[in-house]
């Protein structure tokens, strides 16, 4: 029997219209004569969907009893027995009741397909197994029901039921998706516009099978901190040779497969500074083209520098080139060293055809000659000097002693510059001895007959020794000069990168850290006698570790951690300090300018504030005065009841005035930035209870629904209480008296959300921004509310939370108060 075909309607969220589209397609097929039945359709009480079923045949559901409740499931056996051409099955990811044949509905669907029956089904993006985690991170809603991607991918047709987030939210607001009483914090969080956009993109990408590429971007854009899948970082070791291009292109291909990031690094060998014809221009350009970053570091030990760079930059793989010439691999040793040190890092060695940069003759500092070369030099002396002696001795009759001495001198100096001072010393001693033995009379003894011969031998030795030292001193000087030149070049490049972002100090510190290969670089500022870190780059450190300090100005120092700096390094850093000082100065100026701007804005705000509230202040005062002066009228005697009415009016207006003045004071203090929140950990139910005590509920009923698992909130309880009181008292004033005000709270992915839901007239979307932006009244009916809401919004910003206005499904305003949860212990 041929397997049936599967058609899937994929939705980004509940309510996009999958079921409707499925039924629509069912009808289309049926009208073309196909035998179509409904296996299972969930209408969720949505009227349009229910109407769309019309008179299509529905296979009755089967009931299962589980722990005393009856659960209805799709009747698989009945469908198979009915054996239609096509069956419609809603919600592929559904989990069946215990006792059913299969655990999951998609398994039922598989069985139906096996039986040769075509299936149309629906599934939401968040139920796809591979996206489950990321959807949870985006929305904070845990989805327990999943369907393997492969099942959906195997479908003959997958159709995305697309809808714009705005349209979906409108549907939600009209109560087309869920009835208002079902909305709670987690659901409203799920339907946030940003979340819906992310889910929509995710759906499109999943269809295009390109989710991996863009995942990191989503998480970044939606400020999702938790790394659900750490991105690979490829450290590419470039050498400044022609092979770099092939190496980088290869690395870019590897990176594009895994969505990795490229960090190209050029390690300048500080011990081989004459090898300066490395040209990294091309490598830099390519790196930029591949959207990577390029760094240059200098170290004596190339391999260790590369590995420690990879670790400090949290690289996951190292890509390095190796010439096809086997000899050169063997000789360089860097590859082997990297492999030995890399441990947990993957190292890819790419064969590149490019020639190694021309080797120039290297010179080494005294004491830095490796022992291999010193031994080699001594062995060379042992071989060369006897050979020279033999050659000279065989032509002794034609060669004067002084000629022989000069020939020896040439070889001694050659050996000295190859092997260093010690080799030179050994060679000079050996040459003196050989001259004495073979060329000074009496021959073949170490005795010297003539005094002038003795003088000649001693002079030869001293001359050989002196030249030896001079040759090595020269080598050392030129090496130092080369090193200085290289560092100056790095500095120039680093400075050039900094120039583009003039007042941001971080890139400058980053490049300092990279150039001098230190663990951390920071600028400290002196405040009240304490040194406080102002900007830092690199690892965390504590003040005991500081091992290099460079004063910038009276109040700032530059510090480095984990540095082993010599005098030259210090001088170089001195050059950086000037730039840092300039950066700090420009930051200070920018800050002053910003402060001045704020001062002007504050002035303007105060003016508009006064204008806005003078009406609100005068009204209650007028009422109070009218009532009190009535009571004090000498010519009337008021009954007890009348007196009571006057007094109640006074008390009510006093409450109103109190609230207004509190808001005004808060507004003024918020604007002048003198409010310092006293943040403690409080329970949401305590906050809500306390806020409700402070308001005049005007006889409204509250429907309070706080989740059990709400974490504690980190906030200033007085301020947060005022926000809640403001929002709830607005809801009391504008909601219809016969409707309860819903207050529900729960944990979201990153905080705690409290929703205050009224069924009043709501606030049109375009007015909301204005409402939050400054102190203004929406209209005369809402007088005072504008101030309360904008104060609430300002306070929430101060508390690190947020105030959001949304439509209540079915009409009304829903205010979401996002609070900060306690920092996890």
């Amino acid at each position: 029997m041929t397997r049936g075909t599967l058609r899937v309607y994929l939705g980004l969220a509940p309510g996009v219209g999958k079921t409707f589209r499925m039924l629509d397609e069912g009808w289309r097929r049926r009208e073309r004569g196909a035998d179509v039945v409904i296996g299972l359709v969930e209408t969720h009480g949505r009227k349009l969907t229910a109407e769309q079923i019309r008179d299509m045949e529905v296979v009755p559901r089967k009931s299962y009893e589980y722990r005393g409740t009856v659960i209805e499931e799709m009747d698989l056996d009945a469908i198979l027995a009915r054996s239609p051409q096509m069956v419609l099955v809603d919600e592929l990811a559904h989990t069946n009741a215990p006792g059913a044949a299969n655990e999951k509905r998609w398994e039922d669907v598989e069985t139906i397909l096996e039986a040769g029956i075509d299936v149309i089904t629906t599934v939401n993006i968040q139920h796809l197994e591979s996206l489950n985690d990321v959807v949870e991170k985006i929305t904070g809603v845990v989805q327990r029901e999943t369907v393997p991607d492969a099942i959906v991918r195997r479908a003959e047709q997958i159709e995305l039921v697309d809808i714009t987030p705005e349209a979906l939210r409108r549907r939600m607001a009209h109560g087309n998706i869920y009835p208002a009483e079902k909305i709670d914090a987690s659901l409203s969080n799920f339907f946030r516009s940003g979340n819906l956009t992310a889910l929509r993109e995710l759906s499109l990408l999943w269809l295009a099978d390109r989710v991996e590429d863009s995942l990191k971007k989503y998480l970044d854009e939606h400020d999702i901190q938790e790394s659900w899948e750490t991105r690979e970082r490829l450290i590419v070791a470039v050498t400044g040779s022609e092979g770099d291009e092939a190496l980088l292109r290869r690395a870019a291909r590897m990176a594009s497969r895994t969505g990795a990031e490229i960090l190209a690094v050029h390690v300048i060998d500080a011990g081989a500074l004459q090898q300066r014809n490395a040209d990294t221009t091309l490598a830099r350009e390519l790196t930029v083209e591949f959207e990577g970053t390029f760094q240059e570091i200098m170290d004596e030990d190339v391999a260790s520098a590369l590995v420690s760079f990879a670790r400090s930059e949290r690289g996951t793989q190292i890509v390095m080139g190796s010439s096809r010439n086997r000899k050169s691999i063997k000789r360089s040793g860097t590859v082997e060293k990297v492999l030995r040190q890399a441990h947990d890092l993957d190292v890819h060695i790419i064969a590149v055809g490019g020639e190694k940069p021309k080797r120039t003759w290297r010179r080494r500092k005294i004491g830095t000659y490796p022992w291999q070369r010193q031994v080699g030099g001594i062995v060379g002396a042992g071989l060369l000097l006897p050979l020279v002696t033999w050659a000279l001795a065989s032509v002794r009759s034609n060669v004067s002693n002084s000629t022989a001495f000069l020939v020896y001198l040439v070889f001694v100096l050659g050996l000295a510059s190859w092997g260093g001072v010690i080799v030179g010393l050994v060679a000079a001693l050996a040459a003196s001895a050989l001259e004495n033995f073979y060329f000074v009379r009496p021959l073949h003894t170490f005795q010297i007959a003539r005094p002038d011969d003795a003088v000649a031998i001693v002079a030869f030795f001293l001359f050989a020794l002196g030249s030896n030292i001079l040759v090595n001193l020269f080598a050392q000087r030129s090496s130092e000069a080369e090193r200085a030149r290289a560092e100056a070049e790095i500095l120039a490049r680093a400075a050039a990168t900094v120039a583009t972002t003039s007042d941001d100090l971080v890139p400058l510190l980053d490049s300092l850290r990279a150039v001098f290969a230190v663990r951390a670089v920071a600028v400290l500022e002196q405040r009240d006698g304490e040194w406080v870190t102002e900007v830092a780059s690199g690892e965390e450190f504590d003040s005991s570790e500081l091992n290099a300090r460079f004063p910038i100005d009276d109040d700032h120092v530059l510090v480095m951690v984990g540095a082993s700096l010599d005098n030259q390094d210090r001088q170089l850093i001195g050059a950086f300090v000037g730039r840092v000082a300039a950066g700090i100065e420009s930051q200070r100026l920018a800050q002053e300018a910003a402060e001045r701007r704020v001062a002007i804005e504050t002035d303007e705000l105060r003016t508009s504030l006064l204008r806005a509230v003078s009406h609100d202040l005068r009204t209650p005062l007028a009422t109070i005065e009218a009532n009190v002066s009535s009571l004090l009228q000498p010519d009337v005697t008021w009954s007890a009841n009348e007196q009571n009415n006057f007094l109640q009016a006074v008390e009510r207006e006093v409450h109103r005035l109190t609230r207004l003045v509190t808001n005004l004071l808060d507004a003024a203090r918020l604007e002048s930035k003198i409010v310092k929140p006293r943040v403690v950990e409080v329970a949401l139910d305590d906050l809500v209870a306390s806020a409700l005590e402070t308001i005049d509920s005007q006889g409204r009923v509250f429907d309070i629904d706080l989740a059990d698992d709400v974490p504690l909130i980190s906030t200033d309880p007085d301020l947060a209480e005022r926000v809640i009181a403001n929002i709830v008292s607005n809801a009391c004033r504008f909601g219809p008296p016969d409707q309860p005000i819903r207050i529900c709270g729960g944990a979201t992915s990153d905080g705690v959300e409290l929703l205050v839901i009224d069924r009043g007239p709501g606030i049109p979307e375009k007015k909301r921004v204005a409402l939050m932006a400054s102190f203004q009244n929406l209209s005369d009916e809402r007088s005072g509310a504008g101030l309360g809401l904008s104060v609430a919004s300002e306070i929430m910003t101060l508390l690190g939370g947020e105030l959001r206005f949304e439509d209540t499904p079915g009409g009304g305003l829903t205010v979401a108060i996002d609070l900060v949860r306690e920092s996890s212990p």
Partner: protein
């Protein structure tokens, strides 16, 4: 025996209103408009309660509180000008027994005065409200005639709160009395007990009538004086 109360506030109208109210309820009231005068009075006279405004000209309320606490344990109620005033936390740390933010209703003040003066108003062996009864001796709680099960920690919390008879018990005091000084305790866990108590005893747990809170400061038990407590706090 009439209880003697000293009110320190620089606002004559407030002094007059409070004096009238307190005297109408049989207390002997002395008023003072300056801190230094108040301190002299405290030194020379026996007092049962002091109502002290934090914002006074000259010597500040906090300084006066410190001076009083240096030699006396007389109950002190602080009046503070703003509800968000950080000074009130300092004052509670310095040994003030309760606080009230201006503006306030007289009902709230009288409730606090009564709670502080009638030290053993509640029979410590039990408490009975319109909604539930607690019998601390036999550890039996009933609500609407039905038995309610409370955990040991919940009993301890209720006992501390009920014993304090409407006085403010700060979070720290409550934690110390329930768990002891050195035992480590988890704030979130502790709030959970409070929530549970409310669920088990309160008629409307989300708007507690008995186990009331001053968020971030402490708790108080509103027993028989519940009707007064229903008066709106003014923000």
């Amino acid at each position: 025996v009439s209880r003697r109360i000293l009110i320190v506030d620089d606002e004559v109208q407030i002094l007059r209103a409070l004096r009238t109210n307190l005297e109408a309820r049989g207390y002997v009231v002395t008023t003072s408009q300056s801190g230094d005068e108040a301190l002299r009075f405290v030194r020379d006279n026996e007092l049962d309660l002091i109502i002290l405004d934090l914002e006074l000209p000259g010597t500040s309320g906090l300084e006066i509180l410190k001076a009083i606490r240096a030699k006396s344990e007389v109950p002190v109620i602080i009046l503070s000008a703003r509800s968000g005033d950080p000074e009130k936390m300092l004052a509670l740390d310095e040994g003030a027994n309760d606080y009230l933010a201006k503006p306030f209703g007289v009902g709230d003040l009288l409730m606090r005065v009564r709670a502080l003066l009638q030290f053993n108003v509640n029979d410590p062996s039990g408490v009975s409200t319109t909604d539930f009864t607690l019998d601390f001796v036999n550890s039996v709680a009933t609500r609407g005639g039905e038995r309610v099960e409370l955990t040991a920690v919940e009993w301890k919390i209720l006992h501390v709160l009920v014993l304090s008879g409407g006085r403010l018990v700060t979070d720290r005091q409550l934690l110390e009395e329930v768990f002891g000084d050195d035992e480590p305790h988890d704030a979130a866990h502790f709030r959970h007990h409070i929530t549970q108590i409310r669920r088990k005893l309160e008629p409307e747990p989300a708007r507690p009538r008995y186990v009331r809170t001053e968020p971030g400061i402490g708790y108080r038990f509103y027993g028989s004086s519940a009707s007064l407590a229903r008066q709106a706090k003014r923000a």
